[in-house]
Amino acid sequence: MNDLTPNQKAWRRFRRHRLAMASAWFLAAIVLLVLLWPWISAYRPEAISEAQFQPPDGKHWFGTDIHGRDLLARAFFGARVSLLVGVVGAGVSLVIGVVWGAVAGYLGGRWDSWMMRVVDILYSLPSIIFVIVLITTLEGVLKRWLLQVFSPEWSAVSRLLFLFVGLGAVSWLTMARIVRGQVLSLRTRSFVEASRALGASHAHILWRHILPNIAGVIIVYVTLTVPAVILSESFLSYLGLGIQPPQASLGSLIAEGAGQINSIRIYWWMIVFPAGLLVSTLLALNFLGDGLRAALDPRSDQRS
């Protein structure tokens, strides 16, 4: 066991974490299904039919909605959008957060305190207001520009783009704090000083020596950012600011279902199935994050 590299040890610990492995397989299956769904499904997600508000049966496994659209097809298309927004949004937040935090921590001193004050100030804005203002601003700026470059049919895509950038731009703060703290403690370590004494450039030190050392922390936090971004997106879609109909995300599907609640009839399937898909995906992502954290924490070998 001692001849294994730390990475191999971590991988071994991760594989022994059954819940995390199961979550990884589950997520892989979801991603595959979501990608291949257009070829499997008997229904198009936007195909309207006479069968309104059908409860789940052999024909429509998840039932149908107000326009008689197959909810299973809609849910999988929605999941595709949700996952895409989650992954890309988390990626955007990763880039901003790591660069900001690493630069602040590496420079230290006055730069560090100014850059971290900026993070503190952004933290104390209510996130709802921040997201709404940011997304509408982006929309105003980018839409004009996009319309010149692309044709109007791309408006659905541009919507996604605002969500990527907007959600990424509000969820990088914690990442910046975490990375900054780690870099701050790493930059005075002897291997970094040695590299500096040898005349390495700052970029080289950050990229080759510091970032690989905090990669574990970053990976874990990104895994936990994906569900957070998915939740924010579904919240925005619930408000009507996210994905626009006839496109759907899991959040907008749940919002549609919630809009149909009344005291006479309960269309439970319109909430239960999209919500089930959303919640199980979020659960799997969280378990994955926990498993990764346990696996990448060198102390966890001694503990158990």
Partner: protein
């Protein structure tokens, strides 16, 4: 002394935040009068803009908002601004005319605060015991079941919990009223909807804190000395283990007290959360700035309280 210094430092910080909020909402496209009932004629809009001084340069509007500065009145005499932040006035709302932002907040905040405090109590009351016992039973089935419940609570968004509770507890079994904010019975479903996520979060923090603390040297020593398990867990471990919860509780309370759009929307509760969303959608500039400031004051103030509590709970923490 340290806390006094921080308290004084809050003032420039709040000024920066207010200025940022002021600038941010103005950068966003669209204006406060875009969604008038009838499309406002250019003339009406011009008059409205003049009435609310929206044609002044932004710095002047900001000074007016602060209530610091002078302007020439109709007779050409220099007059100090009346109202403004330094006199405790957030200015007029551009959407709900004839109402000041301060009035609106004064009306909606108590409702949001009541709901927020209930949810806060629910989150702590469920989260801390759950985290504590799952940590004590680490590795047993109780741990797995409890931890699963905690992570489930974190993963189910409020707009799923709310409608689900309404469908079953409200409409199907008819145990609780489904909307409005009157009697204690009305408060049950909103409280659970709002507090569930935070309860899960706190349970996870508490469990993590307990596990870390139980591995520390002084606990091992205390156990070796033959201290009873109850005294050990409650008197020694709990104090330290609850620290992560304390530091999370500050921002959490700020979030809870300023209302939640989802919960207020689902249960038709007249709180602040609805204003948070609508004001930024409608570009009700003074309203947005007022709400941002309210949130920031709560957040920064509560963080200060958290740091105070920290030094009380963990004597090793010293602020110079």
């Amino acid at each position: 002394m340290y806390f006094l210094k921080r308290l004084i430092f809050l003032i420039p910080l709040l000024l920066v935040i207010s200025f940022l909020a002021f600038g941010l909402v103005r950068v966003a496209p669209g204006g406060p009068f875009d969604r008038e009932r009838k499309p406002a004629s250019p003339e009406i809009e011009r008059n409205l803009r003049a009435k609310y001084h929206l044609n002044d340069p932004v710095w002047k509007q900001y000074l007016r908002f602060l209530g610091v500065g002078f302007e020439r009145d109709a007779q050409g005499r220099m007059q100090g601004f009346t109202g403004g932040l330094i006199r405790g006035d957030f200015g007029p709302s551009l959407k709900y005319r004839n109402h000041g932002v301060t009035d609106i907040i004064a009306q909606a905040l108590p409702v949001s605060m009541a709901l927020g405090l209930l949810a806060f109590g629910f989150a702590l009351g469920v989260g801390i015991p759950l985290g504590f016992f799952t940590a004590v039973k680490q590795g047993c089935w109780q741990d797995y079941a409890g931890s699963f419940l905690a992570i489930l609570a974190v993963c189910v968004p409020g707009f799923v919990v709310g409608p689900a509770l309404v469908m079953w507890f409200g409409l199907h079994w008819r145990w609780f009223p489904v909307a409005l904010w009157d009697s204690p019975a009305h408060m049950v479903l909103p409280t659970v909807t709002l507090g569930l996520y935070f309860a899960g979060k706190i349970a996870r923090l508490m469990r993590e804190g307990m596990l870390t603390t139980l591995n520390e040297g002084f606990i091992v020593t205390a156990r070796a000395k033959g201290l009873s398990e109850t005294a050990l867990l409650w008197r020694h471990a709990f104090r330290l283990a609850v620290l992560p919860v304390v530091s999370y509780a500050g921002p959490m309370l700020a979030d809870l007290l300023t209302g939640s759009f989802i919960v207020e929307n689902i249960f038709q509760i007249p709180g602040l959360g609805v204003f948070m969303v609508n004001s930024s959608l409608n570009r009700d500039y003074p309203m947005v700035v007022g709400l941002v400031l309210l949130y920031a004051i709560l957040l920064l103030g509560l963080n200060l309280v958290v740091d105070l509590l920290y030094s009380l709970l963990d004597r090793r923490v010293r602020y110079e």
